[in-house]
Homo-oligomer: 282 residues x 2
């Protein structure tokens, strides 16, 4: 299959492109930084276009040709979910870019959404629940999804919305809890300061997320929202303890040092039944 991927050098993207190559797809990536793309181990296996999708004509649109599927993972400003730019700027930029690719003849679009679209609700989230975005980042994503749903009514295309839950692995945000834990271990510290750690989340290794996204990309008929998640709630404390064990490190947890974040529900995880049924059907 002939795919165009944005966000290819990001945390999920770098693993996702590697997975696509393993599955022998023909991949074009649109990247802002050529240097960053040259750091990727798949650099020789893909076609690279350099450009900024938020700028009208920062690259030659003729190079895009007409991909069978666009996988849009790019999204700026992930270090601050509360920045108003998520809905003031980024959502519109993403929409205009995707619309233009669709106008170029692309018939299938997969976009990365976020579990934060569900809002401040506790428990197991399933795809039929109404979104209730209460963070600027979540509103930007939700508005993009709703906009594309309406665009489809005038310009038909297959549309998959992958709601990503939490993940960990190589390339993760240095501010994430496991990155900070790794840094503390590497510095030889004896104590790791963290929150109470009782909050429940849904985590997947990033390689699994990449594989699930590839499965979605290959599913011929399915259209709609799909949670990308494990289906299993885990406490952040347990996650951290497992990581310490895997690294065979010794570091003491100072639980309760930081307050819990106030912008996320305390205990929520994903219902993965749709994801599992799609995986089986292939």
């Amino acid at each position: 299959m002939n795919l165009l991927v944005t966000g290819a050098t990001g945390f999920v993207g770098q693993h996702f492109v590697a997975e696509l190559i393993r599955r022998r797809h023909r991949v074009t990536v649109l990247v802002r930084s050529e240097d960053r793309a040259q750091e990727m181990n798949w650099r020789g296996d893909v076609r690279i276009i350099c450009g900024d999708l938020s700028l009208e004509d920062s690259f030659d649109w003729g190079l895009i040709r007409s991909p069978h599927t666009l996988v849009h993972l790019a999204w700026p400003g992930l270090s601050d979910f509360r920045d108003l730019a998520h809905f003031e700027v980024h959502a519109g930029s993403a929409y205009r870019f995707i619309r233009r690719v669709v106008d170029h003849g692309c018939k299938r679009v997969l976009v990365a959404g976020t579990c934060l679209e569900y809002g401040m609700r506790e428990g197991s989230m399933n795809e039929s629940m109404p979104a209730s975005p209460e963070l600027p980042y979540a509103l930007g994503k939700d508005f993009l999804r709703r906009s594309l749903e309406l665009l489809r009514k005038t310009t038909p295309f297959d549309f998959l919305w992958a709601r990503l839950f939490y993940m960990y692995g190589n390339g993760q945000n240095p501010r994430s809890v496991l990155s900070q834990l790794d840094a503390a271990i590497n510095r030889g510290e004896s104590v790791f300061n963290m929150s109470g750690g009782e909050q429940l989340r849904d985590y997947l290794p990033v390689e699994d997320v990449a594989r699930y996204l590839a499965v979605l990309t290959e599913t011929p008929a399915h259209v709609g929202i799909v949670n990308i998640c494990s289906g299993n709630p885990v406490s952040v404390r347990r996650l951290v303890e497992q990581h310490i064990e895997e690294r065979q490190a010794t570091i003491r947890l100072n639980l309760g040092h930081y307050p819990y974040p106030d912008y996320e529900p305390f205990a929520f995880w994903g219902d993965n039944r749709i994801l599992k049924s799609l995986e089986k059907s292939l």
Copy 2:
């Protein structure tokens, strides 16, 4: 009270400004057309600023001063609820304008929403139901409301969202059913072609809508969504028959000539309990 009103020469706006003048408020209107403003019978009682709010600097922002309350009724393209421009263009324009007025020091904002935000749901709509916009117009309005809710978290202001249901009266859209009925009567026609007429809607005379909006404007503490509606479902057939009676006209209804619109629920009306409690509290 010192108010800034947009959409003042529109269907609701012209009645609303008249009501504000009756209630002795000091009113500034921002209008695109000076000529249109000069047709209004309140032209001598308000301060008129000419400009297009969707263009960054089409008027002198110094003239806006710092209104106590902004009442934002303006919205383009109401002749086609399915035009993608509602969410691609108009929502963002409205947001940027309102944000700028708030940045100028305005502490209270009332915006006109629409009952179509509730989506394809039948029955009585109350304000605590989650919005589910399925029309470009409804998505534009819903996104504007959610964006302003998040803006409030960084720049506090009182925020009222008036969900307008259906209305009739002087100045209404010439494509509305009662306008077309009037035109047919005025042309002396013997038959009026319409839909089956069994669909249930919630209608108010536009003067009542204007008065309710003035009540909201004056309610000191309330913040949130308020349905502007009668609370009483009425069939379109009954509405048309009543209008024929009031005009003492004789014209036969050709029911079922047109199909029912597919973009609206068949039977929905508003819960007006919040509106009524606010009216009583004044």
